[in-house]
Amino acid sequence: MTAARALLDIKGVETYYGNIRALSGVDVAVNEGEIVALIGANGAGKSTLMMTIFGTPRARRGTITFAGTDITDLPTHEIARLRIAQSPEGRRIFPRMTVMENLQMGASLDNLKYYDEDVEKVFTLFPRLKERIAQRGGTLSGGEQQMLSIGRALMARPKLLLLDEPSLGLAPLIVKQIFDAIRELNRTQGLTVFLVEQNAFGALKLATRGYVMVNGVVTMSGTGKDLLANPEVRAAYLEGGRH
């Protein structure tokens, strides 16, 4: 690992909910231009790590650096302005706003020079959203909301994109489409992606590298291929799943 030059460097992070420790000393590095997958069982702390990067909740110990800046104690909105975008767990789209307005909210921090272009890109990625352009976010189907959440994150022209279970609730065809889209964005625009997935097979196949998290600690890491071949990983996260 080239930790010194990593775009996102998480070192020894501990996060608590009240007195309950959800993360106990997590080390993760995401290098520029990589797709990194994080897999683990329910309640392992994957979403907590995603949110800790954004400072809600804050890490009690350890440091998080992004592009050389220590963001451990930065206010959430300033972290976002460093061009880290997120499609969080539970999607968190704005239910009373239209699809268009939701997308606009994603772009609001940037200058609007690329706005039209970016909107078109999102619609090319998810043509379904274009059909629903004036519909309120809250009335979209679950999968459509997921698309909107990812689309909104992309509107920020992020350097680093955090995706918490992007395949949740989507039909297999759309999942494939989204994974293809992530790969495409990574290849053509060098977008760095850090994603959490339950669909371990798909995620590890897509990822440059992967991490396995158990009970708030990273227990294993390696290239996507290695992890896919690893018998422990196979037993815990892949057997019985889709192959």
Partner: protein, 531 residues
């Protein structure tokens, strides 16, 4: 519902039979309910002892009324409403809607004739019919006028709903002129036309517009940013006292003090905003409520400055942009400058246009802000605070700007209020005012400017109209003061609107972002995208 279950069980009973039965139930329930409330009253006799005064007559009237209303509702209104939904078997059409049956040309002409006739003989009504009957005739005339107006509105309904905002502004601008002209025609002289217009312009026009402006200001905080503020009247008070104090002590003009009052109110908006940044929903509501009360108590107790509960009087009038004055004693009094007859109506009409301008400014700013990043951030904040932050929105400044902007318009309205009344006291800034303003925002449909304006007109106009209902004295005796029942009307209207339209008059939100479809999507772009 009890009567639905009832209807299932005795399918065979005729509506009249069911009505009778339901009327009996209703009577029994209302007798039980009102026996203590209305049937008995505690009072003091001459030797200061507490005694019970029975009021069986009143109790009987109330219970009887409940029974009659219930009977007609179940026996006639319910079957009628059910019939409205049944398709005509032969034609396959729904029956004519109530509205099209209610508004018909012959009725319209009849109403017009009655209204005109009674208007022409307005002066001699008392002589012909005696005062009691004349009261009813005036009421009847009012109904005829309302019916005629409603028919016209109904006839043009599609056009009106398509151009509602423009028409509304047009009507508001023309309103004082029309009132003066109509009254001049009726009374035959320009002077009495102006004099008669006072009530309509001041009590209805200005009063309603003040509430429209306040509600539009609060709408920024509650409707857009979703911060439930129960102490909005505090900013109204800050604006009013800022103008009252600075104008009486320093003699500054309204036009300088208007922005000053706005800034001071905005400052207090930020002061309130800081401690409540982390609060939401019910907790926020309670703290803002306390804030409103604190400001009022400060106004009462800080006697050296605010003159306590006695308030501040002799607040100077607004000048006509410094060019003309509305004080009869001044050398540049408007009537002297323009060489016209003296009248207090000029000032009221001027104030009307002033508050109309201020209210429209509020609406304009709200509309513009909604399309700007800060306005969009307010709306996003209402929906999901965490999502806002992770999209790079500074929720602290967003909330503070919402409080400050809302408070600023409250401050403008407050300084206008002080200038209009010429007198301010803490009594004008009680919690009830905050509640009324909030009720207007909720009734209008949070966030909708048009809905809020309509709600303010209905609520405030409705309570003002109650004052005009002199004929009710004929029914309930000379001691009856209809305006005491205004809160009852307010409450009833709220319940009805909330049952009928749970999201307020205009429940839907106008989107602010649209797709600017570019003429040709560049080919390189289509290639690059994933399809």
């Amino acid at each position: 519902m009890a009567n639905i279950a009832q209807a299932m069980r005795d399918e065979t009973a005729t509506p009249i039979q069911r009505g009778l039965k339901e009327a009996l139930y209703g009577g029994a329930i209302s007798f039980g309910l009102f026996f203590l409330f209305i049937g008995l009253r505690t009072d003091q006799n001459i030797s200061n002892e507490l005694i019970l005064v029975p009021r069986w007559g009143l109790l009987a009237i109330v219970v009887g009324l409940v029974m009659v209303v219930r009977f007609f509702y179940v026996a006639y209104a319910q079957p009628f409403m059910a019939r409205q939904k049944i398709v005509n078997v032969t034609s396959g059409l729904l029956p004519d809607s109530v509205a099209t049956r209610f508004f018909r040309l012959p009725y319209f002409i009849a109403a017009l004739v009655i209204a005109v006739a009674l208007l022409v003989f307005a002066g001699s009504l008392d002589g012909i019919f005696g005062p009691a009957l004349a009261g009813y005739m005036r009421f009847f005339r009012a109904l005829a006028i309302i019916y005629a107006l409603a028919s016209v509105l109904f006839y043009f309904r599609t056009f009106i709903s398509a151009h509602f905002s423009a028409l509304g502004i047009g009507v508001l601008v023309a309103y004082p002129i029309v009132v003066v002209l109509v009254l001049t025609l009726i009374n035959g002289s320009m002077a009495s036309g102006f004099q008669g217009s006072l009530k309509w312009v001041d009590n209805f026009g200005i009063q309603i517009l003040i509430y429209v402006m306040l509600a539009w200001g609060l709408n920024i905080v509650v409707g857009l940013a979703g911060l439930l503020d129960l102490g909005y009247v505090a900013f109204y008070a800050v604006g009013a006292y800022a103008y009252a104090l600075l104008a009486t002590h320093l003699g500054w003009s309204f036009w300088i003090l208007l922005p000053v009052a706005g800034i001071m109110a905005a400052f207090w908006g930020v002061m309130l905003g800081f401690p409540v940044l982390r609060l939401r929903g019910d907790y926020l509501a309670i703290v803002t409520l306390a804030f409103g009360e604190i400001i009022r108590l400060v106004l009462i107790n800080w006697r050296e400055v605010t003159n306590g509960a006695a308030g501040i009087s002799g607040i100077p009038k607004v000048s006509f942009f410094g060019l003309m004055s509305f004080n009869v004693s001044d050398p540049n009094y408007i009537a002297k400058v323009l060489d016209i007859a003296q009248s207090g109506a000029y000032y009221k009409i001027f104030l009307y246009y002033l508050i109309l301008g201020l209210a429209l400014l509020t609406a304009f700013v709200t509309i513009r802000l909604r399309r700007m990043p800060v306005g969009r951030a307010w709306e996003a904040l209402r929906e999901d605070e965490i999502a806002c932050r992770s999209l790079g929105i500074n929720t602290t400044t967003t909330k503070l700007t919402a409080f400050a902007t809302g408070a600023m318009f409250g401050g403008f309205a407050g300084s206008f209020f002080a200038a209009r009344q010429g007198f301010v006291s803490p009594e004008s800034f009680v919690f009830l005012e905050s509640a009324i303003i909030l009720a207007i925002v909720v009734l209008g449909g949070m966030g909708s400017l048009v809905g809020i304006a309509v709600a303010a007109a209905v609520m405030i106009g409705g309570t003002e109209i109650l004052r005009e209902m002199e004929f009710l004295k004929v029914v309930f005796g000379p001691d009856f003061t209809p305006e005491l029942y205004r809160m009852l009307l307010f409450g009833m209207a709220m319940v009805i609107v909330m049952l009928w339209k749970p999201r307020g008059f205009v429940g839907s939100r106008e989107p602010t972002a649209f797709l600017h479809e570019r003429k040709a999507i560049s080919s390189s772009f289509t290639k690059e995208g994933h399809g």
